[in-house]
Symmetry: C2
Subunit: 344 residues, 2 copies
Amino acid sequence: MALIKPRSRRGGGRPTIADVARKAGVGAITVSRALREPERVSQDLRRQIQAAVDELGYVPDPNARALASARAEVFGVLVPSLTNNVFAEVVRGIYDSLSDSPFRIQLGNTHYSGLEEERLLQVFGSQRPAALIVAGIDQTPTSRKLLENAGCPVVQVMETGPDPVDMLVGFSHFDGGRTATEHLIEAGYRRIGFIGARMDPRSQRRLAGYRAAMEKAGLFDPRLVTTTPVLSSVPLGRELFRDALAKMPTLDGVFCNNDDIALGVLFECRRASIDVPKTIGIVGFNDLDMMQVAFPSITSIRTYRYEIGRRAVAMALAAIAGDRPQQRIVDLGFELMRRESTAR
Amino acid sequence: MALIKPRSRRGGGRPTIADVARKAGVGAITVSRALREPERVSQDLRRQIQAAVDELGYVPDPNARALASARAEVFGVLVPSLTNNVFAEVVRGIYDSLSDSPFRIQLGNTHYSGLEEERLLQVFGSQRPAALIVAGIDQTPTSRKLLENAGCPVVQVMETGPDPVDMLVGFSHFDGGRTATEHLIEAGYRRIGFIGARMDPRSQRRLAGYRAAMEKAGLFDPRLVTTTPVLSSVPLGRELFRDALAKMPTLDGVFCNNDDIALGVLFECRRASIDVPKTIGIVGFNDLDMMQVAFPSITSIRTYRYEIGRRAVAMALAAIAGDRPQQRIVDLGFELMRRESTAR
DNA sequence: CCACGTCATGGTAGCGCTACCATTTTCCCT
DNA sequence: AGGGAAAATGGTAGCGCTACCATGACGTGG
């Protein structure tokens, strides 16, 4: 029989809170407190403990912490795409806002699928996250229930609406679509097409805004609308524009679902020697930075993705701290950036 | 609605493995086994346990699991940027490869900072991840040590080289830069500039490849090189190109650090009525899909970012399963895509 | 001088799960 | 049939940390 118990079966001998406590000559719980609520521990002990921590290179085990406190220092973030620049910007805002907090980030990619979203919410929920940030407001009933029962602050982002699960930061895609279309109409375009890829709920709302504006002006014609469920890309924009033109040769303007599509349209116009903005006017959506540099520069609806990410975190942190913001719904709006592509 | 009600420590709502065990009339450990190694449990019990799990809606607590087994089912992924399409693609490959595994993903953004990388490795390491995937091979000595002592498979991605910490998947940026430059030289360009933003180690290597090709042809001139540490973007490409042209008006070609820069250069050429490819030839790097649609289409070095992510996961999973791949270093190469922007 | 609140600290008992055995059952052999 | 190995199942003891309560040392007011 070995009298000396070999150091723990698992864990590569990393120092634990007990090691720190022993070295500092205090109880383990005091170390725990010194790390989490320093003001509740006397100066002296705090210094001693810090010294022991530094010397041993102690880093708390987040798993043990989460288990003991029934709360993980994790933000769950669910977005429908990782490569779409729009969501990448939101995620970047979230990361930047969280970088000097103790919170880690668990990122999930729903691939625009409600089922996948349910699965991920299930997985994320099982970790007892500190907060959840999810894109959109069109969750399935199951997902919505999971969010309601998550037992943590929930922030829905990228949209606005009357009935969030908890909190909501974004803007109105319907208004954005309408504003873009009205701008084209005011600029004198009449046969204005809508070109949209990846018709997710947000794109649908932009389309609805387009339609409202067109109908109001007595210009709507269903043949002006060209959509596809395929994932958006610049090459796809080119193809959809060709289709639209084949279907409706008298087209004199296009409102694009997003900037990738708009760029594809622009390139095709140049290639086919179609004058922009004289023959065709183009409006994009999101205002990626390349829009202002393109030749001709492209009119677009500027949205504040990065800021949405930052606000979402700020609201979640406030809720965690206990002060529920008075404003549960924040509309960050958008701005129409008028450029050469609609200046005729 | 009190969303943040603290969970009571006892019987805090969610079913535990003990609840399932009781309902199924078996021991807790058997439930644990049925979930993790079904083949070690008899058909009968497996069915009973599954029924109990379904009925109770039991989801294992990953924190408790990680604590007990000293191993979290988490892949730590470190990239220098979230919005850079290149890394977004790698991350997407990683996500897709991991989506039907039990592994979650912990994403970290180093912002191209070695210090931030060290900090994140510290944080990630404290969770005892199942594997680590990090971008690049230029870690600080501290980071490298942290990786070596992580106690899990480590895959460095996006580059190739002789001495990985553990495993490595990527391609040679030096060769890519050289190939791009040689292509311009062969096409008859002589005063070929290098334009580069955010000169991270990979960009430096592309520049070195450019320089090697230029020197070999007797064409190198330091005034042909224009770089900046600023983050890359399309507008920046336009500005850098103007600078380069002001510095060296006889410029007749440019090899760009990446496709964003190349696109900015192209737009500026169009705007300034500089003929591409006759007056100026342009080559990008990465071959984003818009390159082939641009007008004129832009020559670029195609790289396999998504595949790099997938391979990295495959190698890590193999290592976790115990069979270390015989090939620790995988070079996925690149391909020169010749297009209109250099066809003169 | 004592009751009583307040502060600083510590002890104990888990959090939900799995590693490590121990035990029982089954199934071959000879 | 008996013996032994393998398969199936269970019990116990933590993993590293924190919630909860206990303790003792103060100060304060009556």
